[in-house]
Symmetry: C2
Subunit: 324 residues, 2 copies
């Protein structure tokens, strides 16, 4: 029996059935593929976010590295560059988070990903303004807190992810099944996902979607410095490390600065000493300005798997192709 | 057209086709499911290994914690307990590896997994005696060395695995695709695999089989102490840590001893100081004798996902069932 025949006989049940079988994340966000581009400081402005949304994924503008008015500009440019849904990632420890949230509301952005903070703080307010809330966690304990806070979607991010990271060091392989077990929210896996095979593996682990950071950070539409992209694409295994554990665990690519940090940590440096060594503006210096010696090069463990310069379109084609 | 009809018309091509489609690891070892039980000190004697082989997986006797004559006894008992293939895991840094290897040959064991050493050392000798060699690595660089050494199968083990571990801290999610890319040997994924969903995820990442340690270490047929099993089954996330990094990175469950170790490492303890703190016989004390305070409790990150007392048969039924 052809589809047309079926449609003729049971139009409603047919559509209901389609709605039921379609991926939860796609349905919720109105996107085609459950592939989220992680909001990343100094990498994900309107160019990257709109390119991802135009490919049928969900692009996120990373508010963490923007002044509030810069964010407004990026949102407006993103609206001009795509008709598809996109969102904003807001690290909740950001000092001007209040202004950021009001801009998001005023600009009628409908999707927010929050991270690095308590999901109770903003979820209710965002819901009042008809905005969907996803929150990023690194443990199943915090996924339960997300559920209690009324969050719509949980993003569980493993140890292999770049930048800020959890204290438990739980890898994506161990984290996703544990979150799946205790939390009934739609689940997006993050950390170590960069290819078609890791995308399918994350879904096999129990996630409904994936958040990809590193591979998008290194592509053409990312606003990161070309030197940073080139350096990260050639990283050998072991060349990113989870550092600053006494301060706030952060995955960095090894360079002169990170090696000094590693030596200090090896000798038992305190949180204060690490904070002094880190200083201010290191991530901007490394990622945006391309200072490969003194910058903090936040990037994930799978960076070295990304070998060539590629566009967002190349990435989607590669991930969605059926090759292993 | 039914199978019988097909068989009648093309008996040979039918069987060739079946051989081609059957999993490489299964074909090579003559087993039913590409599920290998990791060889683990103080856990995997003849009881565990034979139980796994009887379920259609591949059981491994862990020689690392045995005197050579004890190993001979375990091999003989294993032969009595199963007609199916089983193997022996040999850590190459073991002081009496020469005796161990001769016992394996004399007892006509056909499968050896080597680890913690150079795969060039024994592969040729083992092949001369008609023994298949798998070698455990933690980086793609070493998987290339396995290929050069003529090893038959490579086991790539990620950061989340229990006990001895790689310096690069590459997680299973990032490691498997990288090894797959550079190494054409049949590939077994290890580290963080304990369930049906993680089994399927490992295959999606590009592995042909999985090695499961932690879940088997905590089951009924494991020779580990009941107190150790009970403690590990209830571990929260973050309660295993990769420690002893300056000596030889090892994943341990946190207890009094491990906390002292963590404090010393936090203060910058040297390799010598760590070695003094570790002393001798800690793994036996913890795993085999059940000293939860002073033993070294080697176990993987997914320990806490194992919630109940279960047999090897329960584990196989659970992993091979189609539930998420």
């Amino acid at each position: 029996m052809g589809r047309r025949m079926f449609l003729f006989r049971h139009p409603l049940s047919y559509y209901l059935c389609r709605m039921k079988t379609k991926n939860t994340i796609c349905r919720l966000y109105g996107i085609q593929h459950p592939i989220i581009q992680g909001g990343m400081a100094w990498c994900s402005g309107w160019k990257l976010a709109s390119a991802v949304s135009n490919q049928g994924g969900l692009g996120l503008i990373g508010a963490g590295s923007m002044h509030p008015e810069t964010l407004r500009e990026h949102i407006q440019k993103c609206k001009n560059a795509t008709n598809r849904p996109f969102g904003v990632n807001v690290p909740l420890m950001y000092p001007r988070v209040d202004e950021i949230m009001h801009i998001i509301r005023d600009e009628k952005v409908r999707i927010v990903f929050t991270s690095a903070g308590n999901p109770k703080l903003w979820t209710e307010w965002l819901h009042q303004h008809n905005i969907l809330v996803a929150h990023v966690v690194s443990s199943s304990k915090f996924s339960i807190k997300c559920q209690e806070a009324g969050v719509d979607v949980v993003v569980a991010e493993g140890f292999e992810a770049g930048g800020h990271n959890g204290k438990e060091e739980t890898s994506t392989f161990c984290l996703i099944p544990r979150v799946r077990e205790v939390c009934s929210l739609p689940l997006i896996a993050a950390g170590g996902i960069s290819s078609g095979s890791s995308y399918r593996a994350a879904l096999a682990l129990g996630a409904e979607g994936v958040q990809i950071g590193t591979r998008f950070a290194l592509c053409m539409e990312s606003s990161a410095h070309p030197e940073f992209k080139h350096y990260c694409r050639n990283l050998q295994e072991g060349m990113t490390q989870l550092m600053l554990k006494k301060l706030s665990p952060t995955r960095l690519a090894l360079n002169d600065f990170a090696k000094r940090l590693a030596q200090a940590e090896d000798k038992g440096a305190s949180a204060e000493e690490l904070s002094d060594l880190l200083g201010k503006g290191r991530a901007k210096k490394g990622i945006f300005e391309g200072d490969l010696k003194e910058g903090a090069l936040e990037i994930g463990q799978c960076a070295g798997s990304v070998r060539k310069e590629e566009s967002v379109q190349d990435i989607f084609e590669d991930i969605l192709s059926n090759k292993a």
